[in-house]
Symmetry: C2
Subunit: 350 residues, 2 copies
């Protein structure tokens, strides 16, 4: 509903596979000293000798992870990169390179792929990463994207999910629940559009949460901030599946419990008002809504003065002994076990 | 037609996404000193400080790159890894790690994914690579596989596509055309099976070429052989799209021409007999049939004594001045321009 249906259409067969790759990647430049050779050989060549390397990969499928009826292709390209960079930053590493593979059915003209790659290029530029390789092929149905991100980090800075200790503070960046509610708004407008294609949706009141869904950012700035503040998290994870699910990962992998305080969970006013409009509980939205791509980390209490008052960082709880389990302490003081209601993609049908 | 239809079926929803990843990857061990941390965090952690790193990625789609009606899932897992390792060896590098992402529709039970991963595990074991990460998700149609392979190589050993010089010898490993003809045999049997499901195909006479198609190998042994022989190729590429297409890549990227001699192209007897049976020209099969995963490289003539008589290596031509172009010198001495008839995946329909 957001795309220009009158745009020019160049069939992909016209270019062939190699011509297509060349065309789509011609404007990508290598900027990292560690990117020795990008696209054009059997493999890219990198010099990753300076530090430790982290590598993460994600697969995004049309109809499962994204809906092109409201996701512009440029945004999809951008978001596909962000999703992967977020995993690199969650290791307290700096992202350096990505590979981008896509498969599309022949309903996609060249111009659609150009749009997608313009989003990839923008993310590369903003986050300072090089696209060094990938694959472009046809699919029998729809579009799919597979991205692998590489980052570098020193031994001292590397943060895993495994180091949280009892009494550590639990800290979250930004605010939560926006991306999920943005998706609800877009889905609702899609249904309205189906009934009345002439209806122009007014998304203005929802612009913050719609942007959180369509054009999320990864928290590179937080990795830089932690360095500046000389804060070394004991454990860290990115919030892609909802706060509850990520806390349970940290607890399980660090062998600790957790108390999360409902009244501390950072929510944007739009999240609160839209939750009310959709008759949803805003805490549940933050706990179980995904795709916020904020960071969740733990720090030793001694580090608290360094982060105190920082508008990007909110202490939402503390880690406990493993035997205490993981709980939400609600506004009225009751203790509710946290459960993973993260999104399970295996409910689709063929 | 090769699968046991009575096997047990565990729906994937039963495990959930994290349970599924854990289950499928529980038997994978890390063996490389450079694999510091595999699956289980936001990203894998590698120490790639010793040498230069090469990275390559491929996307394989059911109905485009493979057909599960004759490709057993274990073979698919194996071949998916091989296809990627081949690119690493084509840089004269040693493969060290892979990431494996798959998406499947809900027609696939857990047991199917176990089969697939058993093939991945076998390839990892035989080639000495560690699986360090990946993604597992659902698709709206069929199965798709995305693999990224990482390798390491010293500066001195790295071989690109760009270094071939006039008068260099053109060398090919193994023999060509088998994988393509194996596919033709399998496609023919599939048609026979459709008409008469009780007909048991006799694939015995075609076992070599069917195996070339269903269970190809990557030429790690050649990288080791080149080291032992102290041969340093001036350029190298793997043969995934047919000899003709790969020669043209080397010529274009090294800025040279080439004479390829028809009577030198190594063909297995099964390739010759099956070509006759299918009324195909065996030279065309070698030139344009893909998926052999042999290596094609150039060496300075001075190096010839080192490779002379080696049964794995065949000199098939020599590089010329760029202005002479790239030609096949046929058995009767005529000079035919080489054209890329490599497989173009963009002819499918949605």
């Amino acid at each position: 509903m957001l795309e220009d249906k009158n745009a020019s259409r160049t069939p992909l067969e016209q270019l062939g596979e190699f011509g297509l790759i060349k065309h789509l990647t011609k404007d990508f430049e290598l900027t990292h000293p560690s990117s020795l050779k990008g696209i054009g050989d059997d493999a890219a060549v990198l010099d990753l000798s300076a530090k430790k390397t982290v590598i993460s990969t994600d697969l995004l499928i049309e109809g499962v992870h994204f809906d092109l009826s409201y996701m512009p292709l440029k945004h999809l390209g951008y978001k596909s990169v962000i999703v992967n960079l977020s995993d690199v930053y969650a290791m307290n590493a700096m992202a350096t390179q990505i590979t981008v593979s896509i498969a599309v059915s022949n309903r996609f003209p060249l111009e659609a792929l150009e749009e997608f790659y313009s989003g990839v290029a923008l993310a590369c530029k903003i986050y300072g990463v090089d696209m060094v390789g990938g694959d472009t092929t046809s699919s029998t149905k729809g579009m799919l994207v597979s991205i692998t991100a590489i980052g570098q980090v020193t031994d001292e800075k590397l943060v895993m999910r495994t180091g949280a200790k009892e009494n550590d503070l639990l800290v979250v960046t930004g605010d939560l629940g926006g991306a999920y509610l943005g998706l609800q708004v877009l889905e609702r407008e899609k249904q309205v559009f189906k009934v009345d294609p002439n209806n122009q949706p007014d998304l203005e009141p929802y612009s913050y949460i719609v942007e959180r869904q369509l054009k999320p950012e990864a928290r590179k700035d937080i990795v830089e901030l932690l360095e500046k503040l000389e804060v070394h998290p004991t454990s860290m994870i990115d919030i892609s599946d909802g706060l509850s699910s990520e806390i349970l990962h940290l607890c399980e992998q660090s062998d600790v419990g957790c108390n999360l305080y409902e009244d501390k969970i950072p929510l944007d006013p739009t999240v609160i008002s839209t939750s009310e409009e959709f008759k949803m509980d805003s805490t549940m939205v933050a706990l179980s809504g995904g795709e916020d791509y904020e960071l969740l980390f733990t720090i030793n209490q001694k580090e608290f003065p360094k982060i105190k008052g920082n508008p990007n960082l909110t202490v939402v709880g503390h880690m406990t002994h493993k035997n205490e389990g993981a709980h939400l302490i609600s506004r009225n003081g009751s203790k509710i076990p946290l459960i993973a209601q993260g999104w399970n993609s295996f409910n689709g049908t063929e």
